[in-house]
Symmetry: C2
């Protein structure tokens, strides 16, 4: 099992972070991305398609085609990628699985998890891809 997001989503996050390491206008094809994130090309392609449909990245078909950030790295937030692939359910459901958990019928950890969940949400929402760029570059270089 993954931690909080599906494997598709993890790959999507990694792929977009990788795309953000290049300047505007430079393309990476699916093979290059798949080698960087160390996952099969076919699977990575699927994820890149989803991100293309949702408008986070753009694609160019045909020879010398590939993928690129659809917006500037200063405008893309990690939460958008999570939302496009997994949706927002993780931030809405009870961590203990109680279907009726809420402010009126709280589970034993409702308040505490609520804070953690909001912190996680903010972690993904507040910083832009650009903020992460250097860290990411260092990170991806070592993989």
């Amino acid at each position: 099992m993954t931690v909080l997001f599906s494997k598709k989503c993890e790959i999507g996050l990694q792929a977009v972070l990788y795309l953000s390491t290049e300047e505007d206008g430079v393309l990476f094809n699916a093979l290059q991305v798949s080698e960087k994130v160390k996952q099969p090309k076919e699977f990575v392609s699927k994820v890149l398609q989803i991100l293309t449909t949702s408008g986070i990245i753009g694609s160019k078909k045909g020879k010398n085609g590939g993928f690129f950030l659809a917006k500037s790295a200063t405008e893309i937030r990690l939460i958008e990628i999570v939302e496009a692939i997994d949706g927002m359910e993780v931030f809405e459901k009870c961590v203990l699985g109680f279907p009726e958990c809420g402010d009126t019928h709280p589970c034993p950890v409702h308040m505490q998890w609520g804070k953690l969940r909001d912190d996680a949400y903010n972690m993904l929402k507040e910083e832009t891809l650009h903020d992460f760029k250097m860290k990411t570059f260092d990170k991806l270089a070592t993989l």
Copy 2:
């Protein structure tokens, strides 16, 4: 998808919280637990078996048998249930899925997630079942 734990684990947590609502020595059979947590008896039985093997709950076979807390509610912590069913992987793996993420090769959210992860761990570790007992009773009564 579930939030952080497998469905088995969610049911295990709910089941143990339910068992903790009774005094020592009182048994609940699998059917009673399954009705309370609103899941099929067969599935709940499976989960109760796992918890029995790991020593968190006890079982009595045969007619009038059932399940009960193996220790006092003041000695059982939610983290034990998570560990018995899902293991500790959620608290060890990178939230973005980078296989080499760690203090030397941190992912973009490594430090921030590290804090959240530790807070979640402490949330499940520090309070005992007994601490949750009244809240839980109220909670389960409304389901």
